[in-house]
Amino acid sequence: MPIAVVMPKLGMTMQEGTVIEWPLEVGARVARGDTVLIIESEKAEVEIEATGDGYFRHIYVEPGEVVPCGTVLAALTEAPASDFDAEAFRASESTVAARPVVTAKPSATRAATAAPKAGAPATPAAKKLARSHDLDLDAIAGSGPNGRITREDVEALIEQRAALIGVGDGIRLDAPATGPDAGDGVLLLPGFGTDVSAFARQIPVLAEAYRVRGVNPRGVGLSDAPDSERYDIATAAGDAAALMHEPGHVVGTSLGAAIALELALRHPERVRSLTLIAPLVRAEPRLVAVIEAWCAIARESTPETLATALLPWMFSPAYLADESQRKRTVRGLAQTVARVGVEALHRWQAGILAWSGSREADLERVGVPTLVIAAGDDLLTPRAEAVASAIPGAKSIVVAGAGHAVMLEAPEAVNDAVLGHLSSGRTA
């Protein structure tokens, strides 16, 4: 039996809601409780969960549309290809009156989607708490009405900061871990101007068998942003090493691959295997120019504008051809890039330029099992395959037709390749 996803009635006075995002692809497997839809109502974004298991089959209402409570928005079916008449199903479901559902608790959902805004109002309780923990209110996203920062928002930040990990010199990084405690460790290093969410499609898969830790480097997200002219790749490698108490697998993309490479060269004993996705070894002119544009737009405009500008550099034409996919991707990417401040961008830019090309000659010294994943249509790091040939014993695959953001564009291919490499059994 197909399952309808309807616009819920959250409380007595709600009349209508806006569809904001369908986070899943059509055809994706859905378990009861998975977030299947994001809506907005009365200034709050709320995640709607699937009420049963199935496959995400059909979307009736696109993001941006405002519909009354009870409107059928999408359908799940038992199997990806089971018999399904979309219009008939919708017609049959539309007679069902919307019933009130449990409202998500205040702030819990909204805090995840809001971005900090300098000068936002804050409640007295929030101010006091922030003061007592020496926190800057400008760095806290407000989930209250009019973007007001509430005590819950500050508490959430305190909780998150409590989870920060020291990497030496008083620096603490946000490096959340997931997956079984007993699993082998996998360290994830994201690219320039992004954070661990770049691995959103990889983490759930890897975390089934591995203890996965994503690293938000200096200046990214909740991690400390120490004052310095440059964030050095070598220092970042030291930070990453400090997070590894035992030898583990290291996976990096773009700038993160540069850091992973540095880590493997300096601390080979820590690295059981190395995976370099669209790696940066030498910053080509186009990459240098894109980074300059990235910094300029981040300085002068909004995260949405920045994301819109980055899209053509990160994704393939085939991916970009789907308009609603572009819009969805811009929204998600905007939230990611908003988590890296302008100062941090400049410092990483300087770090990249200082390091660029410096390790080309040392590639032949990499002594850990290495996999290079190249994207076939990568405009920013086009010479990834060459990296593989320079590293002794390295394997490589090319994901045909994918852009620089291959992890997002072709997640299954990337996941399969990584899993294969991690389990290949060859240890250092």
């Binding site: 409380g11 006075t13 998500a104 608790k105 205040p106 409640t123 007295p124 006091k128």
Partner: protein
Amino acid sequence: MSRKLSFAAAINEALHIAMQADPDIIVMGEDVAGGGGRADQGIEDAWGGIMGVTRGLIKAFGPERVRDTPISETAILGAAVGAAATGLRPVAELMFMDFIGVSLDPLLNQAAKLRYMFGGKVRVPLTVRTSMGAGARAAAQHSQTLYGMTASIPGLKTVCPSNPADAKGLLLASIRDDNPVIFCEQKTLMFSQGEVPEGDYEIPLGQAATVREGSDVSLVGVGRTVHTAIEAATALAAEGVSAEVIDLRSLSPLDEDAILATLEKTGRLVVVDEATPRCGIASDVAALCVDRGFDFLNAPVKRVTAPHSPVPFSPVLEDAFVPSPARVIDAVRELL
């Protein structure tokens, strides 16, 4: 041991208990017995007050102690003050709180101030029972909620119970308090039922009660609005919002500690008051929160009150006048 009694019956029981124990307690007011002087026709005690609250008292305690008065609010309250100052413990009835307009002086300038002006050398152990509040279609001059006025007068105390058990205990405490106490009886609560303990017990003045525990928002009510708040809290619970409900019970003295404690607990407070909005209890509570609970505030303090108008007659209008659970819920939503 307890049994179900109406609000009115609980007050009647309190009066019986008090008058039995203390011969100085007298009851005086318009029609508190009814049929005055017609005992021989068997119709003395015809009314027992407009809500029947004082029925049976004249039979138990006699016409000297249970007095039907002329329609002379100034003389009723003034004589009650004079009697209280000279050894009696009168329970006077101001039939409708609206009539305080006719007779404010005995309360404002006499009862409230004699002790102070006389350097502490007199006490005025007077209780004024009075019927107040909207909802009975009694229209503008018989439906007002004026406890904010009396609560603002130094020297007076003002209480307003929300349920029969509290009504009995608070009235016994009020009568035995050596200060002038205004005891408010919300009209629409008079026939509400509740478990009432037997025997003699008092509920201290100046002490609020937590009638429902919660963690997300505090709803502060008094009298009828306690029930409004509870209804709202129940509906909010179905939406996953946990509301705490505080019954003030006493407006002067006000349990400031209870208000600040619940604010500290939840950080969000809505005060529900059926009085009109200017210069009233709702503003008093809100000011207290901002003044002494500033760092606890995680949202503005919301006041849900009647509108700034007289009480309308038409049932549709009166029902819109009185704060409703829906309005309380809307206020809560603004805070989350």
